[in-house]
């Protein structure tokens, strides 16, 4: 154990002190998360949100006291494009109950981002308030329907809320009455549960990528580079067995992966990804860890030199990263690529991890999410045991 720990300490320290390894294993995943995450957040801001306005108000129509129409007009003005800029929101408006029902249905399937309902006696209520008859009039409040945990829904809510606040200020200026309209918020949830969040999708994908990078390049470095530089020879003439080195090396990479994991989660949570951490999430994290390590062993066994090992590791890395759907969903890729995508382990690991962390339900069945990566790990381990050479 002392020997394993000595090897672990030396390799881990060397990793921490190596600018290249530090960049690729620690900084790069976080950078990627920030870059892709912020691209998405900007996209979210520039693309307008869709709002349905259901104006049920029926009193004081066509008069100065039609307050509801002011709100609708304000929103409609905001939906007009100015200076070639994309308008903040698009409006669908209607007055009927069926329009309301339909809008809520659309909200549930993410087609629109919020529904604003102006109640029937809204104008009457406000008029009564302006005339200081509060006790005699039933509160007729605005209702905003939004989706919980949806970025765009939150944005839509903020816009509607600010329009209502602006209306409140105007009304107060003319009537002297404060706090007239406080919108009530109603949440609807999607049929499947919480809505899709790209940041959460990205964080889980980057965790898989980070584990893969360490396994591929860390193991290649610890085995091929050290073998080529004859460091392994020097270590093995000391009272160190190969198993000591293997365990020390694996431990060094696993610890590095945990450091990465912690960092990615901290940044991810800071970016707004609320992830679930149940036992199944831990299971998938460990599965990813132990399934990726043999991939590194395979590269080290297949490649003759450190250079070719690095090239092979890069090929695996790119293939598994993009076709594994770690950054973007792979639902849109052509059939031929889909065949590859559904035969590589990262696809299943990412699906399983996302399902277990409450990001999105897995499109592949759970048994495949576990089985396919394990088959890869077993095959690669067997290959490595058969073909790895400690000496060249």
């Amino acid at each position: 154990m002392k020997r394993v720990f000595a090897i672990f300490k030396a390799l881990f320290l060397s990793n921490l002190k190596s600018p290249a390894s530090l960049f690729w294993t620690i900084i790069f995943p976080v950078m990627l998360l920030l870059i892709l995450g912020s691209i998405f957040l900007n996209v979210g801001k520039s693309v307008s949100v869709k709002v349905a306005v259901v104006n049920e108000s029926s009193t004081f129509k066509g008069t100065n006291m039609d307050f509801a129409s002011h709100i609708v007009k304000a929103l409609k003005d905001m939906s007009k494009a100015t200076d070639d800029k994309t308008p903040l929101l698009t409006i669908e408006s209607g007055t009927t109950q069926s329009f309301l029902q339909n809008s809520i249905k659309e909200l549930k399937i993410d087609k629109i981002d919020a529904v604003l309902v102006i109640p029937k006696l809204f104008n009457t209520y406000l008029y009564a308030r302006a005339l200081h008859f509060p006790s005699k009039v039933k509160n007729e409040s605005l209702v905003i329907y939004t989706q919980r945990n949806s970025q765009s829904s939150n944005i839509a809510f903020s816009i509607l809320d600010s329009v209502v606040s602006a209306f409140n200020r105007e009304f107060m200026k003319h009537s002297g009455v404060t706090n007239i309209v406080i919108p009530e918020t109603e949440y609807v949830s999607m049929g499947k549960g919480s809505s899709f969040s790209y940041v959460k999708f990205l964080v889980t994908g980057i965790i898989v990528m980070a584990f893969m990078t360490v396994a591929l390049f860390g193991v290649t470095d610890d085995l091929l580079v050290q073998r080529e530089k004859k460091v392994l020879r020097r270590i093995f003439v000391a009272p160190v067995d190969r198993s000591h080195y293997l365990f020390g090396m694996t431990l060094s990479n696993v610890v590095l992966e945990f450091v990465q994991l912690a960092l990615i989660l901290v940044v991810g949570i800071w970016m707004g990804a609320k992830l679930k951490f149940g036992p199944d999430a831990f299971f998938y994290l460990l599965l990813t860890l132990f399934v990726m390590m043999p991939l590194g062993f395979f590269v080290a066994s297949f490649a003759k030199s450190a250079n070719s090992g690095n090239a092979l590791a890069s090929i695996f890395n790119f293939l598994f990263m993009f076709l594994g759907g770690l950054f973007f969903p792979i639902s849109g890729v052509p059939f031929a690529l889909k065949v590859v995508a559904y035969s590589i382990p990262t696809t299943y690991l990412a699906n399983g991890l996302r399902d277990s962390m409450g990001v999105s339900p897995s499109p592949t069945p759970t048994y495949l999410n576990i089985l396919v990566p394990i088959i890869w790990a077993v095959v690669m381990t067997l290959y490595s045991i058969r073909y790895f050479k400690w000496e060249v």
């Binding site: 002392k2 020997r3 720990f5 000595a6 090897i7 300490k9 030396a10 390799l11 320290l13 060397s14 002190k17 190596s18 050290q226 530089k229 004859k230 460091v231 020879r233 020097r234 093995f236 003439v237 000391a238 009272p239 160190v240 067995d241 000496e391």
Partner: protein, 307 residues
């Protein structure tokens, strides 16, 4: 008290296809001695060492180390008693001298203190330097440090001074002397005859996988080349010099320069000068030097050690 045998090798063979890297060698290394395998590059010295260090399995022959018979590998309890300086010494990158020594220290059951080793290999001032910033000599000293830190009884050194400048070589020779004086057994390979002469108690000369001569340096030198070597430059053509071959059978002739051994210096010198006088040959330069292992190797193989 009978001398303790540390290594005993009998008829060791290691072949790579048709290449007989080690072809049936036998030797014995005694406790506390500096044992040297001397030979040109490719003689099979490193392969022999690699077998003894456990890096390579031998094809046949018998090896015993510290009284234990070795089979395909060198067991850990024996490796705990061995320090190794390989021919090429690289370390895990980005670590400092101290960190490297610390790692190796933790691999042995009864190691020396890091400070102690830093002092022996004179790297106190470089303790915080990263290994990639060390000079060739410093790297080699660190390699010796890593071999020493486990407080071994036996140290293997494969060409420890190859590629070093004379000063750095001297430093390492001094260190090896010190190890020897502290009772450690040193197994050295080298192709520098001075090194073998200065350091060794016992030398085995190896060529093409075989031992071609063995003995203490003095014994080897006197039995193969005579004690002294005479070198002379004469102002004549080759035809006349050839006549010298009848007088001195071991003579080497290089243009106008002649080199020959002299086991009885006054007598040999007199015969040479008599020959010169009789043939009216002017001797332009005449010198006498101690013969060395290089002369022995030349004599045995017709080649120089550095060929």
């Amino acid at each position: 008290m009978a001398e303790e045998t540390i290594i005993e090798v009998n008829d060791l063979k290691k072949h790579y296809g048709n290449v007989k890297a080690v072809d049936g060698i036998s030797f014995k290394v005694l406790k506390g001695e500096v044992f040297t395998l001397l030979g040109p590059n490719g003689a099979g010295k490193t392969t022999t060492l690699e077998v003894l260090e456990g890096l390579k399995a031998h094809d046949s022959g018998k090896i015993a180390m510290f009284g234990k018979t070795l089979h395909t590998t060198v067991p850990r309890e024996i490796r705990e008693r061995i320090g190794v300086v390989l021919q090429e010494n690289n370390f895990i990158e980005h670590l400092t001298v101290t960190e490297i020594l610390k790692m190796f220290r933790n691999l042995y059951p009864t190691p020396l203190k890091i400070e102690e080793v830093l002092e022996i290999v004179s790297l106190q001032e470089k303790r915080k330097a990263r290994v990639e910033k060390l000079s060739g000599g410093q790297r080699q000293r660190l390699a010796i440090g890593t071999a020493l830190i486990g407080n071994p009884d036996l140290i293997f050194m494969d060409e420890p001074t190859t590629g070093l400048d004379p000063q750095a070589r001297r430093n390492i020779w001094d260190m090896i002397e010190k190890f020897k004086n502290s009772g450690k057994t040193i197994f050295l390979t080298t192709h520098y005859m001075e090194e073998a002469e200065v350091l060794s108690d016992y030398v085995y000369i190896m060529d093409h996988g075989k031992i071609i001569a063995k003995g203490t340096p003095q014994k080897l030198v006197s039995s193969f080349g005579g004690d002294k070597i005479i070198e002379a430059r004469v102002n004549t053509n080759n035809d006349k010099i050839i006549g010298l071959k009848e007088i001195f059978s071991d003579i080497e002739i290089e243009e106008s320069k002649v080199i020959f051994g002299a086991s009885d210096l006054p007598k040999t010198m007199k015969s040479f000068l008599d020959w010169a006088e009789a043939n009216s040959i002017e001797v332009e330069d005449l010198s006498v030097r101690q013969s060395n292992l290089e002369d022995v190797f030349l004599k045995l193989t017709g080649r120089s050690l550095r060929d």
